[in-house]
């Protein structure tokens, strides 16, 4: 237990409020002055003080405080000019690996993995999708076979893996029992990306760059101590990961014109020569829809803060995907002759993805992925129809068949 968490004070009765968090943040800043503390040292100290993610348990970077109070700490630290952990670079670790490790990991796994994950010393990636398992992720075929010592040998191919080329660890789901129906024969692992059996190849996409990778796993050894959850329970564990993925894609707070509509509105204002009546009508419609989507996100955020999460989150990603595509398409058209150009087709590997970055052509092409990544819009519409509206599910022919007997 850390000094901050064990000492006398507000921690004693279990109630951490904003004032207490402000106080602890100031103590951290006093103990580790920003000006003469190394970035990594500061972030480690912040983690140890329970100020990394305040809703996590004590000893694991948090204080068991309400999640909504995180902004108190972030605001104080930002004002003091403290370094952050560059969340864009480690989004998969923060958004997907961490909640899964917290929910299903052993004490030893939590202590080993969470600190370097949050500090950013160890980057994480996600080995889920496969060429033959996209929307039907549970059909995945990467095999994990147990040896006499109880450890695992993994063979297979994963795809659409961002950060694989810089990652130290991966969250991995693999088939451990092909003789039972697909959802029941999957197990969840932490995979060491430095294993010699891991080969990472860049996957060039329609924008010209390679945000993602293909990952080939050939005889990769995983000790049983790196299994998350029970053998055969991997699908349930993965639900935690995927829920967090959809939330992190759809749940961000943005100011008015903060999204894809921003660049096109700016161009409209600065370039009266490009305006036409048709584009004006379409722009206004999209501006309205973008602003309403922003308010819907804001309403969702307010519901979460008030402790009343609604089902709206599943809809946010659908709305943003469609809007990003329509707005960026309009922008290319608005630019006229300039819309015929593209900034650069050179193959490169971006450190992080900015949907609203680069030029209009890039934005248009990149937005095509928004209705595919993290659940296709078609699957999300099914989820809304079935889980929110309670409509009957699709007739299924795959639920009671052993994985090895499925059509492929």
């Amino acid at each position: 237990m850390t000094d901050a968490a064990s000492r006398d004070g507000a921690g004693r009765d279990g109630a951490i409020d904003a004032a207490e968090l402000r106080c602890r943040t100031q103590e951290l800043l006093a103990a580790r002055p920003v000006a003469d503390t190394d970035r990594t040292d500061f972030l480690r100290a912040r983690f140890d003080a329970g100020l990394a993610w305040v809703h996590y348990p004590e000893g694991l970077g948090g204080l068991g405080a309400p999640r909504s109070l995180q902004t108190v700490v972030d605001t104080e630290l930002e004002a003091a000019g403290a370094p952050d952990n560059d969340p864009r670079r480690i989004g998969i670790g923060l958004g997907m690996a961490a909640p899964t490790i917290l929910g299903f990991g052993t004490e030893e796994q939590k202590r080993r993995f969470l600190r370097p994950l949050w500090v950013g010393e160890e980057v994480w990636c996600q080995l889920f999708s496969e060429p033959g398992a996209g929307s039907d992720l549970a059909a995945l075929g990467t095999r994990a076979v147990r040896d006499d010592a109880g450890d695992w040998m993994v063979n297979g191919q994963k795809v659409w893996t961002s950060s694989a080329h810089v990652a130290r660890w991966a969250i991995l789901i693999a088939r451990t029992d092909p003789d039972v129906p697909k959802h029941r024969g999957i197990t969840y692992f932490v995979c060491d990306m430095s294993d010699p059996g891991v080969e990472v190849r860049p996957l060039r996409q329609i924008t010209g760059e390679a945000e993602f990778n293909e990952v080939f796993l050939t005889g990769v050894r995983i000790p049983d101590a790196h299994r998350l959850g029970e053998v055969g329970d991997g699908w349930r564990v993965a639900q935690t990961t995927l829920m967090n993925e959809r939330f992190s894609i759809g749940g961000m707070r943005i100011p008015r014109e903060g999204g894809m509509i921003g660049p096109v509105a700016k161009t409209w204002r600065e370039r009266p020569d490009l305006r036409t009546h048709d584009l004006h009508q379409r722009l206004l419609k999209l501006w309205v829809e973008a602003e309403v989507a922003r308010l819907t996100g804001e309403r969702l955020r307010q519901q979460l803060v008030a402790g009343q999460p609604g089902p709206e989150a599943s809809g946010m990603k659908l709305a943003f995907a469609r809007l990003n595509q329509e707005i960026s398409g309009l922008e290319v058209e608005l630019l006229g002759e300039e819309g015929l150009s593209y900034d650069d087709w050179t193959m490169r590997r971006p450190d992080f993805v900015d949907f609203t970055g680069r030029d209009a052509g890039y934005r248009y092409l990149r937005a095509k992925g928004n209705s595919i990544e993290g659940g296709t819009s078609e699957v999300l519409l099914n989820i809304v129809a079935e889980r929110v509206l309670g409509l009957p599910s699709e007739p299924r022919t795959d639920k009671d068949v052993a994985w090895k007997d499925l059509a492929r």
């Binding site: 419609k285 309205v288 309403r299 307010q302």
Partner: protein, 364 residues
């Protein structure tokens, strides 16, 4: 970039939820679909009993009026919740026209006796401006001469239920006129539950209550903003009722609601209602707090919610198929209200045009 005021409160408070429950309970006793359909064919399209229970029984006609001026001292947020429920029941009561639009006009005037009467629900008021006029659009005025009003106005919503009309005149004044002093002729209306009427002023005795321009602008803006909540309620009924029906209705040996083509349409509609709720709450909150962003919030709410309500009603009809086309099934009441609402206080297009100026996205 346009300026924004403080973050709006887009949720419902506990008190607002309690108010919703009370209104919904009352309407389920008074405004069942079969009863509403039957009433549209009677000579008296408005439900006086439901109005009395809402206005006098629950005091809801005075929500927007301060206590010192004879009202309940609540805000647009509460009135919006009432309108959601009235929309859900497609209730034939003059709440939007009297307790919101006419009341807002009087709040800008100097006629507190009349304001208090409207707030109590004992009298019903209507602004004598055609229902389709947008908040910043031109409206027709009648002639004021010799201490009386002369002329004719059409498209006046709920005029047949009103006791008093607030009439803009050519001299720039807003005049209160008893409906007994004029001739009100019902027009055959698209919307059976909010009928419009023609009003003829033949030397009608009138009392000047204030200046027309600020009163009319204020009234139409509040009407447009809160209409979004009614549209949300309409859309929600259409979605909920269609989902319920498609779970029950079987064809091809399956519930029809299990077909993916229909599921996706309903999911899409759900998404639209979620957006309409955010937009409607944003407008109600802006009106309630007097936000500097109110003009944008109102225009945004109408530009978004009006087409959503129409889409919801059209989808409800199509997905109910044959039964939805009958006079007996209530979906036509919702379609007619939603379509008329899409013209009320300006079309979505009018409001987008307003936004072009408000957020600096100017036309070519």
């Amino acid at each position: 970039m346009t300026t924004q005021s403080a973050t709006p409160d887009l949720l419902y408070s506990e008190e607002e939820e309690a108010l919703r429950d009370a209104v919904r309970g009352l309407l389920s006793d008074h405004c069942d679909p079969a009863g509403v359909i039957a009433r549209t064919e009677s000579g008296a399209p408005h439900d006086r009993e439901a109005w009395k229970a809402l206005a006098e029984g629950m005091g809801l006609a005075g929500l927007l009026v301060p206590e010192a001026r004879g009202g309940q001292g609540a805000t647009h947020r509460e009135a919006a919740v009432v309108l959601e429920e009235l929309g859900r029941a497609v209730a034939p009561v003059p709440y939007l026209t009297s307790a919101v639009v006419a009341t807002e006009a009087l709040l800008a005037c100097d006629a507190d006796d009349l304001l208090a009467e409207l707030a109590s629900g004992r009298r019903i008021g209507a602004l004598a401006v055609a229902l389709n006029v947008a908040p910043s659009a031109a409206y027709k005025a009648v002639r004021y001469e010799g201490g009386a009003l002369h002329g004719e106005l059409t498209g006046i919503a709920d005029a047949v239920a009103a006791d008093v009309l607030l009439v803009p005149a050519g001299d720039g004044g807003l005049y209160a006129v008893d409906t007994q002093a004029v001739t009100v002729t019902p027009q055959v209306s698209l919307d059976l539950t909010r009928p419009v009427a023609k009003v003829v002023f033949d030397a009608a005795t009138a009392r000047r209550v204030g200046d027309a321009e600020p009163a009319v602008r204020r009234a139409l803006r509040a009407g447009a903003g809160l209409l979004a909540s009614e549209q949300l309620g309409l859309a929600e009924w259409c979605l909920t009722e269609t989902v319920r029906y498609l779970k029950e209705r079987k064809q091809f040996n399956r519930p029809v609601g299990g077909f993916q083509a229909l599921k996706h349409r309903l999911a899409q509609l759900w998404l639209e209602t979620v957006g309409a709720r955010a937009a409607a709450r944003n407008a109600a909150d802006a009106l309630a707090t007097g936000s500097t962003d109110t003009d944008v919030a109102v225009a945004l709410a109408q530009a978004y919610a009006a087409p959503v309500a129409v889409h919801a009603a059209e989808e409800a009809l199509q997905l109910h198929a044959g039964i939805g086309m009958t006079w007996e099934h209530p979906v036509h009441l919702y379609l007619k209200r939603a379509k008329a609402d899409s013209l009320a206080y300006g079309t979505a297009g009018n409001h987008r045009e307003a936004l072009a100026g408000l957020v600096d996205l100017q036309a070519p």
